[in-house]
Symmetry: D4
Subunit: 237 residues, 8 copies
Amino acid sequence: MSVDDAMSSLRTLPYEDLGFAKIDHHRPLRTGFPEVVLGKGKRPEQVAAIVASLTGRGHPVLVTKTDPLAYEAVVRQTPEANYNDLARAIVVPGPHSAPSREGVLVVTAGTADLPVAEEACLTAELMGSRVTRINDVGVAGLHRVMDALPNLQEAKVIILVAGMEAALVSVVAGLVSVPVVAVPTSVGYGSSFEGLAALLGMLNSCAPGVAVVNIDNGFGAGYLAAQILRNGYQAPD
Amino acid sequence: MSVDDAMSSLRTLPYEDLGFAKIDHHRPLRTGFPEVVLGKGKRPEQVAAIVASLTGRGHPVLVTKTDPLAYEAVVRQTPEANYNDLARAIVVPGPHSAPSREGVLVVTAGTADLPVAEEACLTAELMGSRVTRINDVGVAGLHRVMDALPNLQEAKVIILVAGMEAALVSVVAGLVSVPVVAVPTSVGYGSSFEGLAALLGMLNSCAPGVAVVNIDNGFGAGYLAAQILRNGYQAPD
Amino acid sequence: MSVDDAMSSLRTLPYEDLGFAKIDHHRPLRTGFPEVVLGKGKRPEQVAAIVASLTGRGHPVLVTKTDPLAYEAVVRQTPEANYNDLARAIVVPGPHSAPSREGVLVVTAGTADLPVAEEACLTAELMGSRVTRINDVGVAGLHRVMDALPNLQEAKVIILVAGMEAALVSVVAGLVSVPVVAVPTSVGYGSSFEGLAALLGMLNSCAPGVAVVNIDNGFGAGYLAAQILRNGYQAPD
Amino acid sequence: MSVDDAMSSLRTLPYEDLGFAKIDHHRPLRTGFPEVVLGKGKRPEQVAAIVASLTGRGHPVLVTKTDPLAYEAVVRQTPEANYNDLARAIVVPGPHSAPSREGVLVVTAGTADLPVAEEACLTAELMGSRVTRINDVGVAGLHRVMDALPNLQEAKVIILVAGMEAALVSVVAGLVSVPVVAVPTSVGYGSSFEGLAALLGMLNSCAPGVAVVNIDNGFGAGYLAAQILRNGYQAPD
Amino acid sequence: MSVDDAMSSLRTLPYEDLGFAKIDHHRPLRTGFPEVVLGKGKRPEQVAAIVASLTGRGHPVLVTKTDPLAYEAVVRQTPEANYNDLARAIVVPGPHSAPSREGVLVVTAGTADLPVAEEACLTAELMGSRVTRINDVGVAGLHRVMDALPNLQEAKVIILVAGMEAALVSVVAGLVSVPVVAVPTSVGYGSSFEGLAALLGMLNSCAPGVAVVNIDNGFGAGYLAAQILRNGYQAPD
Amino acid sequence: MSVDDAMSSLRTLPYEDLGFAKIDHHRPLRTGFPEVVLGKGKRPEQVAAIVASLTGRGHPVLVTKTDPLAYEAVVRQTPEANYNDLARAIVVPGPHSAPSREGVLVVTAGTADLPVAEEACLTAELMGSRVTRINDVGVAGLHRVMDALPNLQEAKVIILVAGMEAALVSVVAGLVSVPVVAVPTSVGYGSSFEGLAALLGMLNSCAPGVAVVNIDNGFGAGYLAAQILRNGYQAPD
Amino acid sequence: MSVDDAMSSLRTLPYEDLGFAKIDHHRPLRTGFPEVVLGKGKRPEQVAAIVASLTGRGHPVLVTKTDPLAYEAVVRQTPEANYNDLARAIVVPGPHSAPSREGVLVVTAGTADLPVAEEACLTAELMGSRVTRINDVGVAGLHRVMDALPNLQEAKVIILVAGMEAALVSVVAGLVSVPVVAVPTSVGYGSSFEGLAALLGMLNSCAPGVAVVNIDNGFGAGYLAAQILRNGYQAPD
Amino acid sequence: MSVDDAMSSLRTLPYEDLGFAKIDHHRPLRTGFPEVVLGKGKRPEQVAAIVASLTGRGHPVLVTKTDPLAYEAVVRQTPEANYNDLARAIVVPGPHSAPSREGVLVVTAGTADLPVAEEACLTAELMGSRVTRINDVGVAGLHRVMDALPNLQEAKVIILVAGMEAALVSVVAGLVSVPVVAVPTSVGYGSSFEGLAALLGMLNSCAPGVAVVNIDNGFGAGYLAAQILRNGYQAPD
């Protein structure tokens, strides 16, 4: 493909302009997943309009970091929308959303990391991955890590969700030979500085093969894991 | 595999103790790559002893963030070692190091990012990947990004190396549907704060599918990319 | 003009002392715009008294970062005052406030940046500029940037409002040859650190011609843009 | 112009690929100024090759934050290059570089800010502006500010270069009605934190009409000032 | 006085133990002012008990950074206590609290700095100083500073209360030859980072003769100013 | 004990999986204390289930940084649970919880440090230590420190709880020859930055023999002190 | 004095323009001390020219944070200049520089704080104060503080110079009733973060009456102390 | 002992004043160890004078963070002094320095942590402890931790020395029931920010029983460990 062809394919990509938002209906075709909506900072009626515009085009729709108020506005226009209370997410299921690719393992270091982990699971599942969950695997009780070893060694990609000092990442990444997607969480207090300690810990991991995403960014981790998993992914016809 | 079996396999892993370092000869078998040596903070004679211990076991050896002094000490004991001046790395080639898997693309935002990019290329190649390089693709000249579009769309995993504000990451990750490994560099001045601006920019990218590693961590990016690439990797017999 | 003349002109500038505030009625003559009132940190009755003192002198009055409570206090004394809910601003329109100079373009990277953008638009319009608005032009969907290209290339000064990693700034500033006023916003979460990531990204932009203002400072951007636009501006008689 | 036309004009932009750098020869036509070269982080021979590629095309060439070693390499290939010791910059003068537009005033708060100010002056002059310089106008001696008042009030755009607490910015911006481009410098010690105090001071200025650039970024300030100055600038035929 | 004598005078200092607090009744004799009570972080009943213990010993009592709830608890036990709503302080007036030493001038940069300034005034007055107040002297309107010049030049010690960039400090300290006590406030938004910008600005002031206290620490400034003022202060018999 | 034996003992450690949490019933045997539950970030019903699972196994149970809502949920299932309002902790007393080892001294610098100190006391007592408390020993009143000298010199391990500048640590550690466990608290305002000032002060103490724990981590301090105290501790049969 | 008179007196203040610096010869008359020269960031020949311009006008001249190279340049033009190796300062003694006012006490916490302390002493002495020095009074050896008690209680103003955690400030300020000028130093390592720990410690001191200056700013402390000391100071005729 | 007695014992403590330093000869009696000398920031001749003053009093002398230049000055006056090149420390052995108490285990996470670990070992040994060393126990190779398990479970106090993300701390502290003294090191690069990542990781460890000291503070860790170890320590007669 020449530069000209590349440019041409780019310039013809369609989108819908709602005034306060531009909806990219081509994105599912291009990347295999609809534009996810970050709920934070948007008004309920804006979320509802965006969801309505994205719904019914053969793909699931996902709104992250949202709340019941936005859901109320959404469900009035889009009755098939569900609210996932743990992940604080709105989901409109698509027609083909049964997960089919095995191999994503999501592990949390503690109970308080569950909401972020759930956001990751939801995302990966909507992108066609089958997800296994293991919770509360703190390294201070190494036998719990050991008990998860069979799961860790079977996974094709591992998402680790941890706050505080996030030591789990180095321990697990040293035990496996597949990519580890590390999600720092704002779980902790004092000098955890809202997730900074976990973020720095993950970035400085002595084990190679670790990819880091933003603090509390379960969506980003789920997306990346699903992307790594689907080899030769083809957009639906 | 039961927990007991997992534990058993763990406890029998061999290593060699040099006193100041423990060499993990089992690692190549377990993860498909020898323990890379971070040269920074180690004395030349320590680097030399570690390299000597790792050499000759059927795998390449890599020392990162090192210098000519350490290389001098290494080459006295290990004459087949080479020094890569651009990446500031020592490499002892292994018997089977011809890259065979296609699909890693390494892109720099500017000329000053080259040393970190070279570290990434070197690592991915030693792990069996074939690497394509494109340099100096700053987003302030968007046509240069566009010219790279065919390469970007062919790649199976993309490593982006960028300092300053690292805007390249969001632009590229929005154009492709494969994982992007983002390496912030300490290139810049003033409020780049030795790579902090680039790191935060990458972590907060509005495009999904972005994995971030430590500032200047070319090795980590190359390792992760090769790991993502090799589906069904098997350790050499 | 000699130093003595300069000093003399300075010392005779009038102001009105309300006790808790000094109102600078000369400012419109000197700078072409009345002293804007930062609502944050002031009590409703203080805001009301300041607005009353500034109103009716042939200039519009603007209160930024305020709330409905302050507006209630203001409108009791100044019935012609309006409240702009999106920008969280109080406006008392002046007699000559019809915008007459073309060329300010205000672009947001996302829907959540709208309140800050609206503050910028309001300010530039009150200073006599005609403002074009384009919303939700994230660089992760480059075709949306491309679609805005005609507007970008017609503008005489561009205000970019972006949170998260603010990559839009480098992309746009590389496409145009006019000044770009960049407003980082506190939109984002985790390591956006309340707008720090966007601020650093903008300051370190690889594209020249970028002016940065404080986080969420829509007013400052609108003011600067209008100031750049009005060549040979003369204070009203 | 339609989106297609915009895209077409973009995709045909030429550049030259040196391997380690892509030189954008179209840039002078597009923005009215050649791509400036940031010397920091580039090897002398890389700087020399880039300068050689940019020279002789009817435009001046500028290398910032460089050193005598790079100059030595440059001058061997490009004998008409000069080294500005104060600004630490290499300049290859262009055929039409006589400044012709009046109105840029560059003011420093102290003697130690001179190198950054000189970089700003050089840039603005190469872009066709006539520059007036005033040095060492600290606000702790307000009569020195007052003495500069006639110059301040005549300028069409003012560049303020200041380290430490950078109070000069608020004082000057309150005295004039033209845009002020503020350059924080790393001048100072202790809690100036390499320019952070000045940067924050400028971003939080209580006076409107202030545009901030990166710490020590004299080039960016000179570029922005020249850009603001040239109304209706047309690229040379 | 020998070391032994010094120690003896120290060891005999009395205090009262309330269990959760130790009240230092000797402090007024030693330093000329009772132990001020920081209200923040104490429960209403704790504040009330401490105030009751300190009251009636011939000195005023001051509680800072408190609230109406604590005042309610205090006034039940100590009916002569007053609540200063602006300064958020509780005051129990002492028998001799009429201010008698002239020379403290308290200046604010803006209306929102008033609560901190009032805390400073209250403290200095309770320590026997006569305080002059000037509000809203932003340097962006230099004629307002000039109008205050006679007061500035008459003062024996000046307290400057400023948020945002705090440029007022350098301007005023350059105009006078007496000590300036600078109080940064958390007034501002965005990159003011809750007063950090003002704090750094004050610490890096280019004018000598500036003493800085903690962010929002009006009490500390009032105390220091009164201490500087009272030459040859003698504790009451 | 051989490596194999060590591994074997590790792999057989029991735990109970609640789905959202893994309860480590072996921990009391292994470390002499049950897994403490960090209440923060857990839902009331999760806290209640964890407490129920831990209760009745011959050990006390402790939940820190919790609230009355969680206690309500807990007490419904575990009626013997108590709520310590000052420490914000839930305690289920164990059968043998009478403190028996003398020597832990807990000292606070101010009244507002009491909640953190109480968490430390509670923890040390549950671990079998007898605790002496001294409150409000600020170094600005050195005679109060002196009055505590006999207690300080009798203690076997000292916990110091201090916010603000935490100077108490250096003074006390210089007076004694036993370990000092320093707990920074988030008490303070302005540039205390939520405990950062106290944390840095403690880490940089000029007196040796100081161990620091996380900001507000009373539990960690109490645990460490009890651990230091119990020489030759044996897990109960 | 009226506003007009104040302004008039301001505008007629003389200064000498060296091109790269403006020398304020009126300053000694206005503030009782010549403009001190911050050597850092100035070239030797610039320092020499400034010193030559300031010398011989009846006042001492002081250059701080300078080095032997600058001194060499200075002494060629100004042979009476001395170099103080400990304080890294150049001094040109004035005709009346014999210290005459008693009462400044300069105390260091450790030997490494001596250079900053010496800068403070030099400044205060040049401004006419008699200075007493006490070195190495760390609070970890409280008897050393006690031994200094007579000096502390005789002083009229105390300068405390301390790095690391700077606990000395709270201890001393609690023992005296005179102003304490606290100078944080960059002495320390690790988490002292170049003086940040000391700076925060001093700003958050629990003892009132503490004025803080910039890290390593001995000059500022000496200036402030001398200013506090000289009551009714009159400029020399 | 009464307060008076405590005070009396304090005031009579002897020290020797060298002018630039006060030597505390009583300290060995009071705390069981001589005042250690921090070499950093002191001139060679100052170090030599302090060592000479401390030597020959029946105790070893230790200088940390020093260099060969200081050692040269020391050995001229104190020929029995040794230089430990790895720990960068000067040691003058005392008459009774044979280690006698078993139980300190010092573990490093990597080879580059050795200098800090050696400083800890040296200190603990000089204080009478017998020290076992284990190096390079990174958690990414968990079998190396497992191999150390027997040593870990035999130790009475464990010093962990780790840079980068310091995950070793949580793993080890979860395996043992004795106090763990954690020393963050500045080993690492990029976002390790000179040890900040390791420091935060250790402070936020999910395992209880962890005491943290300053970055690179091997001395502090060794001192604390020896202090914990020596139960019922008595000063030599």
